[in-house]
């Protein structure tokens, strides 16, 4: 029974329709993790508490990380240009190309998802940022819109005042919209919806680059440019101005992230949206908000509310810290100065939450490359490959999930401590009580969501 799914989806694009009972959209898969056993939670939370209090007394008394990356040349190099930008552009074309079959009236195989969901929700949204956290920013080069801007010779003159005026607020809003598409939109698994969204986003990026200049436009309006810069700053590897791969030293790149306007909001959005997705499948969340969960506007409200709650908590912490350290500090300034300390926690949340999605649903890529448009092709003979759910058992995944969350917490505490020493001097330890409390709360929440 092949239907004109494509046309239906096209109509659905952009419409916020209230469905009576909608599935939890995850963009891809329709599979959820089983809860982590409660013993893992108890051990993880205990370790977090002990480390946090020990950190207050044991950590160094002078700032160590604030002078930024060290730039010791690495022994290997990764070639620049050429193939990598082309790969990004091909990926974008494959996603936007999903609009062609319905436009040409071709019948698609409804049992095959096409390449768009796995490309967008696994490769682009997870593998590139997570990979960047290991090997340094890889998005800047693979970014298809930058390549497109180069090819089209867009944005020759940079208008830097656009960056100063707007910061990354436009990117923040687009990132929130992207997570809405992933977590709430009923069309998140539809290739045609993704194709249309990618087309709209591409037009938006072309306009941005033409308006503000290529680099300024992407820095302000491309949600994924600041997001990937934040996440990849954790990596000990980076690229020097001359293109050479260098060792930056652990955590040092994070301390020199430019304090764009809206920087804290991006970290909050990253933590809040993943929290929402994790919490939404827990029994207590469902029993509390079951009515709202049934509709798109209800889920949208819950998604935005979760982000706002995380944001409010961070704001309260900033106010408390600002009060403690003196008059020259405002809550807004504190919030900006400490935003980078939440990046490891945001990354840990995302890795723990999406680990199995990469391992399992990521395998769909193998089948999808053989039939990218779900037209019944079998280019490489792998179109029938199904997901192997037995490549790993549950226990190793639980260990990694809890371990990653605890590690993220430790890195966050270390970064916050170091920044407080640099900014507040003698008041540093006292000013960090509220921040430490927030981090313990976030980490406990992260573990709770995993085990609920």
């Amino acid at each position: 029974m092949i239907r004109r799914l494509g046309v239906t989806s096209l109509i659905a694009v952009g419409l916020v329709v209230s469905f009576p009972a909608i599935a939890l959209a995850h963009g891809i898969g329709g599979r959820l993790d089983l809860p982590v056993p409660v013993t893992y939670f108890i051990v993880g939370a205990g370790v977090v508490l002990v480390i946090s209090f020990v950190a207050l007394t044991v950590l160094w008394p002078e700032p160590r990380l604030q002078d930024g990356p060290r730039h010791e040349p690495a022994r290997f190099s990764i070639p620049r240009g050429g193939l990598i930008p082309a790969v990004g552009l091909i990926g974008l074309l494959l996603v936007v190309g999903q609009l062609l079959p319905p436009l040409l009236g071709l019948d698609t195989d409804r049992t095959r998802p096409g390449i768009a969901p796995v490309l967008v929700w696994v490769v682009f949204w997870l593998v590139i940022p997570f990979g960047g956290a290991v090997v340094g920013d890889s998005y800047t080069e693979i970014n298809p819109w930058r390549t497109l801007g180069r090819v089209l010779r867009l944005g020759q003159g940079e208008r830097l005042w656009v960056v100063d005026r707007w910061g990354i607020w436009p990117a923040d809003l687009l990132l929130l919209a992207f997570t809405w598409l992933e977590l709430v939109s009923p069309g998140s698994g539809s290739a045609v919806t993704l194709g249309a969204a990618a087309l709209v986003y591409t037009l938006l990026m072309i306009g941005s680059m033409a308006y503000a200049g290529r680099e300024s436009g992407l820095a302000v309006f491309d949600a994924f440019t600041p997001y990937n810069r934040l996440i990849s700053s954790i990596s000990p590897l980076g690229r020097r101005g001359d293109g050479r791969i260098v060792w930056r030293g652990w955590l040092r790149a994070l301390t020199v992230i430019p304090e764009w306007k809206g920087l804290a909001a991006m970290v909050v959005i990253a933590i809040g949206t993943v929290s929402y997705d994790g919490a939404a499948v827990t029994p207590w969340f469902r029993s509390a908000f079951g009515g709202l969960m049934g509709t798109v506007p209800g889920q949208t409200l819950l998604l935005v509310s979760t982000v706002l709650v995380i944001g409010l908590a961070y704001w309260v912490v900033s106010v408390v810290a600002a009060r403690m350290v003196g008059d020259e500090w405002t809550a807004g300034r504190v919030a900006g100065r400490f935003a980078h300390t939440l990046v490891p926690i945001a990354l840990a949340y995302a890795v723990a939450h999406y680990l199995t999605l990469i391992l399992f649903e990521g395998q769909q890529l193998i089948a999808a490359v053989s039939d990218p448009f779900a037209l019944g092709w079998n280019l490489f003979g792998t179109a029938e490959r199904s997901v192997d759910f037995f490549i790993t058992a549950s226990e190793p995944i639980w260990y990694v999930q809890v371990g990653v969350i605890v590690t993220g917490h430790v890195l966050g505490v270390v970064l916050a401590h170091d920044r407080a020493l640099a900014d507040f001097g003698r008041e540093a330890v006292r000013s960090q009580y509220a921040m430490l409390l927030l981090m313990v709360a976030l980490t406990t929440l992260g573990l709770l969501i995993l085990s609920a």
Binding site: M1, R3, L5, T8, F19, P20, A21, I22, A23, L24, A25, G29, G30, R31, L32, D33, L34, R110, T111, P186, G189, V281, R286, S386, V387, F389, F390, S394
Partner: protein, 159 residues
């Protein structure tokens, strides 16, 4: 139950439902695990005249993907999809290796997609469909009506 009136309306399409309900009452069988079916019978004893319209059973039209439905005892229905609403348990839990058996009844032709296992069952309006799977992949899997991505229930397979 709030949905009793809607399901047992006067349209011809719903007579099959009535049949099941009547059979259920007659046999006194409550249907194991099918809480919905039990309460359906209680709330649906309609005017006696409607029993005369009892049509021939639709079990012969069962799609090949289901196991044969019992014809003499009442049909258990676990999840109803009717008028855009899903009624039934949210989750059905099984241990690894067990045989999943969830009966679904829809008022629209569609496909039921068991995610993860990636199985597609064709469901015909008014014809009970058994979602029959061996629970061999641990996890929580969404079972959806494919055309509208409507969540019918979640299949929970514990390791």
């Amino acid at each position: 139950m709030f949905w009793g009136g809607e399901i047992y309306g006067s349209t011809v399409r719903h007579r099959t439902w009535l049949l099941w309900a009547v059979l259920l009452v007659a046999s006194g069988c409550s249907g194991e695990g099918g809480g919905v079916a039990t309460s359906a019978a209680v709330t649906s004893i309609g005017p006696p005249t409607t029993t005369n319209t009892m049509p021939t059973t639709t079990t012969g039209a069962l799609p090949t993907t289901t196991s044969s439905a019992p014809t003499t005892t009442a049909q258990r229905i676990d999840v109803y999809f009717e008028g855009g609403q899903v009624v039934g348990q949210d989750q059905f839990s099984y241990a690894l290796g067990e045989q999943v058996s969830v009966w679904v009844l829809s008022d629209d032709d569609d496909e039921v997609h068991v995610h993860g296992y990636d199985l597609f069952f064709t469901v015909t309006a008014g014809v009970p469909l058994e979602i029959s799977v061996t629970a061999e992949i641990p996890g929580i899997f969404e079972v959806e009506l494919e055309s509208t991505h409507t969540l019918l229930f979640e299949l929970v397979v514990a390791p």
